[in-house]
């Protein structure tokens, strides 16, 4: 059995109305994790005692009428790349098996200041370097919809924990789709904010210029409520932005009248599983029925942007892990192959990739002269089976990892905000995700459109 509430808003209302206490809600979350974790393997560390102690403090504050935020007393989780003071932070790797940070990540600090109760650290792909969450050291994370299938990754435990109703929000990190892909495969909502919007301080990095931090939750509204508490300048993160913040919570009945939604058919709507294609078609029809204007747009060479992103990721990830390459036994085969690829790339390729990135950012920005946001599929297929290496799409075989990241990775290169929302299921009941991409720092429009489509 999962939590008695599906959304943060519902839980917050029940807490405010004293229909449930923070301790009771936290205990319900911990009980659900205890029941489900042997099936899903979504958590690496469960923080029972700390969480219950914090929940008790939150209840005392509630009794005094002190409410810190909408997350006050709400059970949440963070991926195991976020440093947690006094609690081990493994990154899903034996290299960090005994790493106990002496500080909290900025995101963890802000969640705690907001009164959220962190119940545990979610499982993930090794070092966040992959999209299957089939971790050779700590076992595979399983998709709650079908436990023979991957939840996506790298934030697979966060996606599984939210979709199974074990917590109301779980933080993920996203370097090439690692928040949006688990959201798509597990059937929840995931937001990758604009580069610089949410602090990376205290997160063990995979990649210095592609990593983004964001929430996975039941819906766009909950992602918006969480973003409101996490967004903002942090001098400890060199990439942190001083761009003004918005009020992200979407209106209850948002109108889409006049909203120009770009549909980039080329690349984004090619080579899709038929049910992904039909689910997206139905979603676009719904948007049109809500009086949005659909605008066909032609994106720049997205395969080029993916190649640029892969060169950057291979180079930066290998640079970060260079000090650990002496003991190859500490890496799984897939991660080791990627790290070796990065070691062989010349520095000139890396610099040229960062130069090309600037060119393609400008090219892609031109799409927003005609549109306010874009809708694309998030993943071209639904969740593959655990251990599956290839997927067949339209009679063509494609590597699971490349297929899974094909539509999500370019958005990390471009630094734009992107949201994955559920928009249907395939014949096996597996979720299909749609991706909403916005202008730089325009999370507000992205979240409002997501909320309207989820409600409509």
């Amino acid at each position: 059995m999962s939590l008695p509430f599906r959304t943060i808003s519902d839980a917050a209302a029940a807490l405010a109305g004293k229909k449930i206490s923070a301790v009771e809600l936290t205990r319900a979350s911990l009980d659900a994790i205890a029941r489900e974790n042997s099936r899903l393997n979504a958590f690496l560390t469960v923080m029972d005692e700390v969480a219950l102690a914090e929940a008790k403090e939150r209840d005392a504050e509630l009794a005094r009428g002190d409410v810190r935020s909408i997350l006050h007393g709400v059970p949440v989780a963070v991926k195991d790349v976020f440093c947690t003071k006094g609690v081990k932070t493994t990154c899903g790797s034996p290299i960090f098996a005994n790493y106990v940070p002496d500080h909290d990540a900025a995101v963890v600090e802000r969640l705690r200041q907001a009164g959220a109760v962190i119940v545990g650290k979610t499982h993930q792909h090794e070092l966040a370097y992959g999209v299957t969450s089939n971790n050779p050291h700590y076992g595979p994370v399983r998709n709650p919809v079908d436990t023979d299938r991957i939840p996506g990754g790298a934030s697979g435990g966060s996606g599984a924990a939210v979709a199974a109703g074990l917590v109301l929000m779980a933080m993920g990190s996203d370097t090439g789709g690692s928040i949006r892909i688990p959201a798509s495969y597990c059937g929840c909502t995931g937001l990758k904010p604009t580069t610089g919007r949410v602090s990376r301080y205290g997160v063990v990095p995979l990649d210095f210029t592609l990593d983004h931090m964001g929430p996975l939750a039941a819906n766009s509204r909950d992602c918006a409520l969480t973003l409101q508490l996490l967004a903002g300048f942090d001098p400890r993160d060199e990439s942190s932005s001083r761009a003004p913040l918005d009020r992200y919570a979407p209106p209850v009945q948002a109108s889409l009248e006049g909203l120009r939604i770009g549909i980039p058919r080329k690349f984004f709507y090619e080579r899709l599983q038929p049910e992904v294609e039909s689910s997206l078609a139905a979603l676009l029809k719904k948007a049109e029925s809500m009086r949005a204007r659909l605008v066909e747009v032609e994106p720049p060479d997205m395969a080029a942007i993916n190649a640029i992103g892969r060169v950057i990721l291979l180079s930066e990830a290998s640079a970060g892990m260079a000090g650990h390459m002496g003991d190859r036994s500490k890496f799984g085969a897939d991660v080791l192959a990627l790290l070796d690829q990065g070691r062989l790339l010349p520095a000139t390729d890396y610099v040229n990739a960062q130069r090309l990135r600037r060119i393609y950012m400008r090219k892609f920005d031109r799409l927003f002269e005609q549109t306010d946001c874009l809708i694309t599929p998030c993943t071209p297929v639904t969740a593959p089976k655990i251990g599956q290496g290839m997927v067949e799409i339209g009679g063509v075989e494609e590597d699971v990892r490349l297929a899974t990241t094909r539509l999500a990775r370019p958005i990390n290169v471009l630094g734009l905000p992107a949201l994955s929302i559920p928009c249907g299921t395939d014949a096996n009941g597996l979720p299909v995700g749609a991706q909403i991409i916005g202008r730089r720092f325009d999370e507000k429009t992205v979240l409002a459109l997501g909320a309207a489509l989820e409600a409509g």
Partner: protein, 60 residues
């Protein structure tokens, strides 16, 4: 002209064992085929997406 990744792999310290090379070189060569032609699009003065900005407080 493609690189001799096998020779480069052996020259690294620590090196990449021969038995690991098939899973390393094949994907890299495919990526190179996509990536290398793109570099020809660039003007000489194109800067990287991220440039060095020295914080003023370093010199205060």
């Amino acid at each position: 002209m493609s690189r001799d990744y096998k020779a480069l792999a052996r020259a690294l310290a620590p090196d990449i064992p021969d038995e690991n090379l098939p899973g390393v070189i094949g994907p890299l060569e495919k990526l190179e085929d996509l990536f290398r032609p793109l570099a020809k699009e660039m003007e000489a003065e194109t800067e990287p997406a991220f440039v060095l900005v020295l914080p003023t407080e370093w010199f205060a």
